[in-house]
């Protein structure tokens, strides 16, 4: 219920919202949790395994129970009602432990921002505010982050600092920080992870609290990536529950949370209140709740109440039952809300105290998560009954309650960082607390991790099963692995495990906190890198033409390449057969611009290429082209392509499309690390040159028609030569390179002129029926000739010899990368897998790529399992030229087995196939010169 005179909500405005199908109202400044409690709704959902009623157990992100699904305005699962700021029109419902992902696309925007600061302060409570102010006054660049909507941390407004109300102190510090241009002060921003070298990630909620008024131009959430010279962790402490029977009911709250609800939202969470504590701080809650109109009883675990608070209680008529413990609870029918606390008195007598709010305080757990993220060790502090930072880390200061300092004066002193600390006026001195983790009772109704429905009985089972470390118990019981990551249950789990093992908790230790501190949506981490922006798309200079021509594209790395150009009514098979026939019978044209191109220049360019290619490049004449293979030191093929010698000291190295970046890296690595004495320079020119192979027996007519200055006769312009010419003043380089076995001219031109030159080639070829073809046809044509695709027909275990390319391995060069490996015993084994052709004997079946190759025993049966594998199919297509499907395969000792029939499992059938040479079309090479 709402009480007058309390809270910082705006009562002049009313917000409507819906929960579990019923309509309620609240006010700006409310959270969903505070508004529900104000409306008397205490049950939020059910527990995940046992289906027990669950409510609100804390006032902020440490709450372990109040999970909701928000449906409107923005659908999102598994949010804490305590951290959802109320907006008009909010629709939510309670959860049974699990949420449901939205079925509509997330149209919100997420982004990120980078910060480089001298000092990062996490937490804008009294300690953090002062630490940030001190750094700002030193002239530092500062970031101050705080996860709540407003600064001030745990200050309720009842405290007095330097003679004035604490909220005025907060406002003054915030106002001073705002005068420093180098201070970034962000609320609603959770530092969720700390990493190496002062790197902190934080998530800012920017628009959810604005509801329908949120500008569409603002990102909904922002990830701040902060590199800080020094990090001040001022993240406060979480109040610790106490474990007793049926401690999971709605209406059982942490004591400071009940007080926070009163002062922040004007919500009194119960009229009949039992406060169960062994710690001084809970008396402030008892007193404030009583002043707001509740009937309060304190159950004090210590034999004596602290004198100051005993007096304050007496003044208000609050009974204090000393030496007493809450051993269990009773619940109301219906919403299951707590209806009574079962108290064991100092004399052992049981009393049942009727109540509708049970406020619990077992002391405080320093919020040392960010300290633990970078492997800072946490040490047990017996005065706290909890773990706190136990070592000094470079570049880290932990201040205030996060450091285990629980009095306001101490927090102000630590935060002031050497400046004169403000005074905490009238603060009573803290007295030693009683460390109570658990009250004896039935193990299976004592909840340790309320969210996981994990009880003391589960820990007992873990210990019984032999678990002896906190980390193992965590994984066995799942305690601490839920939404809240054990913020309130972690220390209890360690303490109870230690109790059951009979060892001191300091010997057992606790589990390591890991990021994220609070859940972070993948959408926020993804930021802008979604959809079109997920991965760069590379297109060639002709992309618009391809789109207009109706090309079907395939992804080759980041490139979009036309795969085929279907005509109306054609599927891929029909289109590719048509394109293949057009090339072999007439002329086709391909956009080959994606091929990698590296400009190699310098006095020692030829020396470098001799060392990295298996064949000789230094004796290549200027004006000539040579095919080459590159291997790793292990002798395995890593790339292939052609090399054009432009001058004595200049080459163009052509790589595969996929190998372009890798081969540039490879060459740079050798030049920089092994051969720094070589005078050679490397530059990628892939994007600068467009390349159009004009391919087929009629290609010569097309080239000669367009480039009148070029003598295209075989004598003047032979195979594997290049010539420079020009078209209307635009320089063009033409090379006679063939990846199909046909007469072919590769036209190279500055990419800016690519569309114009392409159109001119099409026009020149029109009367010859020039046919644009895509990568699929290119693949078929090259496979018919047995030309391998590195990475498809090879897999990093294939030598040039395995590919039948011994001719491309120099015997004259004393060394090159890979040479020594060719003579290793493993690489001379005649049973190595070798590239061969496979013709299915039925002349109909297209064997799937990747199929295994097996053979029958002489009696015509399969060998007994495991059936030996002879190899596998690497490429498989239908061939227009052969009029049948064919395949390439790597087969053990394959070249010695030409003519043998092997079998390939295809579905349930074993398809017979004949081993052939890998060159199936024009093995004599007659078509090359037209």
């Amino acid at each position: 219920m709402r009480v007058d005179g309390y809270g910082r909500i705006d009562r002049s405005r009313t917000l409507g919202f819906t929960f579990d199908g019923r309509s309620y109202t609240g006010h700006p400044g409310d959270t969903l949790a505070s508004a529900l409690l104000a409306n008397g709704v205490h049950r939020i959902g059910s527990s995940v395994t046992l289906g027990r009623p669950r409510g609100i157990s804390a006032a902020w992100s440490e709450d372990a129970t109040g999970l909701v699904q928000v449906e409107e305005p923005f659908p999102e699962p598994m949010l804490l009602a305590t951290t959802v700021e109320l907006v008009d029109g909010l629709v939510a419902r309670g959860l049974g432990g699990q949420g449901r992902l939205a079925e509509v696309a997330d149209t919100a925007r997420y982004d990120r921002m980078h910060h480089h600061v001298d000092t990062l302060v996490v937490g804008a409570g009294p300690a953090g505010l002062l630490a940030a102010r001190a750094a700002a006054r030193r002239g530092e660049r500062v970031a101050l982050l705080d996860d709540r909507p407003e600064p001030g941390g745990s200050l309720t407004g009842t405290e007095r600092i330097d003679g004035r109300p604490s909220r005025e102190f907060v406002a003054d510090v915030v106002a001073e920080l705002a005068t420093h241009p180098e201070v970034a002060h962000l609320q609603r921003t959770t530092a969720f992870g700390r990493y190496d070298d002062g790197f902190v990630l934080a998530l800012q909620h920017r628009t959810d609290h604005l509801g329908a008024d949120a500008p569409r131009t603002l990102s909904r959430q922002r990830v701040h990536r902060i590199r800080a010279g020094r990090t001040v962790i001022a993240t406060g402490a979480h109040e610790r529950p106490i474990v007793f029977a049926d401690n999971d009911r709605p209406g059982i709250l942490l004591a400071a949370s009940a007080r926070d609800l009163l002062h922040r939202y004007g919500v009194l969470a119960g009229r009949e209140v039992v406060v169960f504590t062994g710690d001084d701080a809970a008396y402030a809650a008892a007193v404030d709740l009583a002043d707001a109109g509740a009937a309060v009883t304190v159950v004090e675990a210590r034999p004596q109440a602290p004198a100051h608070w005993a007096g304050a209680a007496a003044d208000r008529g609050i009974p204090v039952l000393t030496g007493s413990l809450v051993a269990g609870t009773e619940g109301a029918p219906g919403d299951g809300r707590v209806s009574a606390a079962v108290v064991t008195g100092a004399d052992g007598a049981r009393t049942v105290l009727g109540c509708d709010l049970l406020a619990v305080s077992g002391g405080w757990n320093p919020t040392a998560h960010l300290f633990s993220h970078v492997r800072g060790t946490l040490a047990y502090d017996p005065a706290l009954g909890a773990f706190r930072p136990g070592e000094d880390l470079d570049g880290v200061a932990v201040v205030g309650a996060a450091n285990g300092t629980l009095d306001l004066a101490g927090c102000l002193r630590e935060g002031a960082s050497g400046e004169r600390p403000p005074s905490a006026d009238g603060e009573p001195e803290r007295t030693p607390g009683a460390i109570v983790w658990r009250v004896e009772g039935p193990h299976d109704r004592q909840f340790v991790d309320v969210q996981r429905d994990a009880t003391v009985a589960d820990i007992a089972r873990a210990v019984g099963a032999g678990m002896r470390s906190a980390e193992h118990v965590k994984r066995y019981t799942t305690i601490g692995t839920a939404h809240d990551q054990g913020k309130t249950s972690g220390v209890l789990a360690s303490a109870i495990t230690a109790e059951l093992l009979g060892v001191p908790i300091e010997d057992l230790g606790t589990t390591t906190f890991r990021p994220p501190y609070t859940p972070v949506a993948f959408a926020a981490l993804a930021g802008r890198e979604r959809g079109q922006l997920f991965d760069p798309v590379r297109t060639t200079a002709l992309h618009a033409w391809h789109v207009g021509a109706g090309a079907v594209f395939e992804d080759v790395g980041q490139w979009k390449r036309p795969r085929y150009y279907p005509r109306p009514g054609e599927d891929m098979e029909a289109a590719v057969l048509r394109e293949c026939a057009a090339v072999r019978d007439g002329v086709g044209i391909l956009d080959g611009s994606t091929l990698g191109k590296i400009d190699v220049q310098g006095r020692d360019a030829a020396v470098l290429l001799d060392r990295v290619y298996t064949n000789m490049m230094s004796n290549l004449a200027v004006g000539r082209v040579r095919y080459g293979v590159m291997c790793g030191p292990d002798g395995m093929v890593i790339d292939d392509g052609t090399v054009l010698r432009l001058a004595e000291d200049r080459f163009t190295v052509i790589t595969t499309t996929g190998g372009a970046a890798k081969i540039l890296d490879w060459l740079e690595e050798w030049v920089q690390t092994e051969w720094p004495d070589l005078r050679v320079h490397l530059a990628s020119v892939t994007e600068q040159w467009a390349v159009f192979p004009v391919v087929g027996p009629r290609s010569r007519h097309v080239i000669s028609r367009l480039f009148a200055d070029l003598d295209v006769s075989n004598d003047a312009f032979g195979f594997m030569c290049w010539r420079d010419t020009e078209l209307d003043g635009v320089p063009v380089r033409v090379a006679r390179i063939s990846f199909s076995g046909e007469l072919a001219y590769e036209v190279n031109v500055n990419a800016w002129y690519a569309p114009a030159v392409w159109e001119r080639l099409l026009a020149a070829g029109e009367k010859h029926g020039i046919t644009p073809y895509g990568t699929e046809t290119m693949h078929v044509l090259r496979a018919e000739k047995g030309y391998p695709i590195i990475g498809q027909d090879t897999d990093g275990t294939v030598t040039p010899h395995d590919l039948g390319m011994a001719w491309a391995v120099s015997k004259k060069k004393s060394d090159f990368i890979g040479k020594r490996s060719f003579s290793r015993a493993e690489n001379t084994d005649p049973l190595r897998k070798q590239l061969v052709g496979l013709l299915p004997t039925d002349a109909r079946t297209k064997i799937p790529e990747g199929s295994q190759v097996v053979e029958f025993c002489p009696d015509g049966a399969l060998p007994a399992p495991p059936v030996p594998m002879l190899g596998h199919v690497t490429s498989s297509y239908r061939s227009a030229a052969l009029g049948r499907p064919f395949a390439l395969a790597l087969v053990k000792g394959g070249r010695q087995r030409v003519g043998d029939v092997v079998h390939v499992p295809v579905g349930d059938a074993l398809v017979p196939a004949e081993i052939t040479s890998s060159v199936l079309v024009d093995p004599e090479g007659n078509r090359r010169d037209g």
């Binding site: 070298d197 060394d815 040479k819």
Partner: protein, 93 residues
């Protein structure tokens, strides 16, 4: 995410760098003179110490230059960086 100190560019984010394996494994002067086993040691065998390890790194998304570093494999911390051709510095791990 660590900062790695490129000898040419200064401290940069870890994602800008590419790992290159053990440092100071020189290409043999005369591979043909090696036995299969000696050659295989060069090609396939690398140290895997617990503690300080001299490694090659490339500032691949920055200046694209290679350098060497001594890194503690237990903590991932870089103990020293140095240019190719320089001797491995003495550092305490």
């Amino acid at each position: 995410m660590q900062l790695i100190r490129c000898p040419w560019c200064g401290p940069r984010e870890e994602v800008e760098f590419h790992y290159g394996g053990q440092a100071h494994v020189a290409y043999p002067d005369d591979p043909a003179a090696l036995t299969d086993e000696q050659w295989a040691r060069y090609v396939f065998f690398r140290d895997n110490p617990k503690g300080a390890f001299a490694e090659r790194w490339s500032h691949s998304a920055g200046c694209r230059r290679w350098f060497n570093a001594v890194r503690d494999t237990r903590t991932y911390r870089f103990l020293a960086v140095y240019k190719p051709g320089e001797a491995r510095p003495e550092v305490a791990s």
